[in-house]
């Protein structure tokens, strides 16, 4: 035990005596571990933000759009498409919207030239659309059955349009749809899974049919599936709607885009990890180089130690231990720097910090392995030096 203590003391003194050299060879493990810790930490933190958004929005929303053969204008679903979709056992809710392409929406009289050039989409929507979207209202209320029953001309604005129209919360306001006044009853919150809805104005199916003159056939369905069955449900929907063949229905799962973003982060993480590994490898080559030169520079010291009775294995162990210290210290310093980078960047980006503390010992172990492996050849070289060649007797 005391021999090990002596060995540690000798190796530590060797590193301490050449501080700049020690710091320089430590850069490899430091950069390598810092790169890997921050790569994993930053991508996980970013993914964490995406995942919390996904958890909030759900990954079980399906959007079905009516398609048609080439050249078909404004393809639509059958009027009872929602009922047909709700027959799929894994569907928990569905709401339809209809694009009212011929309707011009104006915030005020006299703004028609601008809004004819840049029309605001107007959609007829079911009463349960916010519930299916799981999006709350920013202001007021959503369209309800009494609007239809009482023949109310009610409109709900998407959050983007509300901003564009300068709508103030609680304001009593009317807008013009095909020159008919509609009262604004609410503002729908931002729909992260389908931002198109933020730029639309919504009216009841009754108003669409009886005031704005459409046939009431929907062309877009928003469907919620039982969690875990989203893909299977998506596959079943075209058949359930069954209008002239499944190819007349196109479906998409909007959360796939966010998941693809998370996946892209994973790729970025792999690239950064690779860069960290590269830094470690280059650092290892640096350690091997510097330690080899150091053995030559310290050949007299090696000769002296051999002369006073240190064995070849002790000399080899001394140099190997110096490499091991470089790996341990470089790993610790790299981990601290990596964690610091994750905290700093996450704070700036407003992410919740996610650090895989369980992975850090792996990166540090890798740095240690690379350092020791790099120190192996110089250590053997040191152990094999003949003392007579280094002491220059006579």
């Amino acid at each position: 035990m005391s021999q090990l203590r002596d060995l540690i003391g000798v190796a530590w003194a060797g590193l301490k005596a050449r501080k700049v050299r020690t710091l320089l060879i430590m850069l490899g493990p430091v950069i390598g571990v810092a790169a890997m810790v921050s790569a994993v930490g930053l991508t996980e933190s970013a993914k964490g933000a995406l995942q919390s958004q996904l958890a909030q929005l759900g990954t079980n929303l399906i959007i079905a759009q009516a398609g048609g053969t080439f050249g078909t204008q404004n393809p639509t679903f059958p009027v009872n498409a929602v009922q047909r979709v709700e027959n799929v056992s894994t569907v928990t809710g569905a709401a339809a919207t209809t694009n009212l392409s011929g309707v011009i929406s104006l915030p005020i009289q006299g703004a028609s030239s601008y809004y004819q050039a840049f029309p605001v989409p107007v959609r007829a929507a079911d009463d349960n659309l916010p519930a299916v979207l799981q999006v709350p209202l920013l202001d007021g209320r959503w369209l309800n059955p009494s609007d239809s029953q009482l023949h109310q001309r009610s409109v709900v604005l998407g959050s983007g349009i509300a901003r564009q129209y300068g709508y103030l919360p609680g304001e009593v306001r009317t807008i013009l749809l095909n020159n008919t006044n509609f009262g604004v009853v609410g503002v729908l919150g931002p729909v992260a899974l389908d931002p198109d809805l933020d730029n639309a104005a919504f009216v009841t199916q009754w108003a669409a049919k009886h005031i704005l003159g459409t046939n009431g056939e929907p062309n877009e369905l928003y469907i919620r599936a039982v969690p875990g069955t989203t893909q299977a449900t998506t596959n079943a929907i075209p058949t359930a709607i069954n209008l002239g063949g499944p190819d007349q229905v196109s479906t998409k799962i909007p959360s796939d885009v966010l998941q693809a973003a998370a996946q892209a982060n994973k790729t970025l993480q792999q690239v950064a990890l690779l860069a960290g590994l590269l830094a470690l490898t280059v650092g290892g080559i640096g350690i091997a180089n510097v330690m080899s030169i150091s053995v030559i520079q310290r050949s007299a010291e090696i000769g002296i130690r051999r002369a006073v009775g240190h064995s070849r294995s002790k000399i080899g162990a001394q140099f190997l231990l110096e490499s091991l210290f470089v790996g341990v210290l470089g790993g610790i310093l790299g981990a601290v720097i990596g964690i610091g980078v994750v905290f700093a960047v996450s704070k700036l980006a407003g992410w919740v910090v996610v650090i895989s503390y369980g992975d850090i010992p792996i990166w540090m172990g890798l740095a240690l392995f690379v350092s020791v492996a790099a120190g192996l050849y110089p250590s053997i070289k040191a152990a094999r030096l003949e003392p007579l060649e280094t002491l220059r007797l006579g």
Binding site: Q3, D6, A13, V308, S311, R312, S313, K314, R392, L393
Partner: protein, 248 residues
Amino acid sequence: MSEAAFETPPYGGPPVNNHSLLELEMVSRVYGEEVEVYALRDVSLQIFPGDFMSIVGPSGSGKSTMLGLLGVLDLPTSGTIRIAGQDVSALDDPTRSKLRGDSIGFVFQQFHLIPHLTALGNVETALLYRDLRTKERHERAYDALDRLGLAERAHHRPVQMSGGEQQRVALARAIVTNPLVILADEPTGALDSVNAANVLEIFRRLESPERAVVMVTHDATVAGTARRQVTMRDGRIVADERRVEVAQ
């Protein structure tokens, strides 16, 4: 060193059959493979307790090779080297290294101190890997420095000391293990006359009936202080003379 101690060598092996501390028996050292060069040829030499000996000879006579072999820094091509009766060729490196550390104290012409260590640290180097507690190691190293008048320089580095002081640190490192033999290679070669005289005086003080002091030198003054003088030429011992001191 007592006779009893020789009969029970500390490293095992065959029992000792003579009283020599260090013995070379028909030792040859050949360098080169295609063309063989004999640095030493069939040399036999016994070094006894109490010997105060110089090895002299012109350059190329084999003095340095002899020193390397006597210090077990090298092994012979043929022949036997024994330390306290132990054949060193038969030992593995860790055992041979321990035997060297315990039995031989080296003093070199260029001092050969480790530059990043203090005087104390340099002396302690000889006491490492001996299962000593740190405190005991410090004390023994400090005592050795104190005996050579360097207690106040214990925490100085070699670069902060004169040549004479550095050589005394090297001497302290050589004696701290209380070796059987002190081997010195031109110990005054890098010193001015005053420091050389001081160092020689220390060597005289190191004379002991239990220990041998062997100095390899070109210097006639240094050689003249020894009571036994071995002369070498062309890899052979050509004279082995003892100086007889006549009582006044």
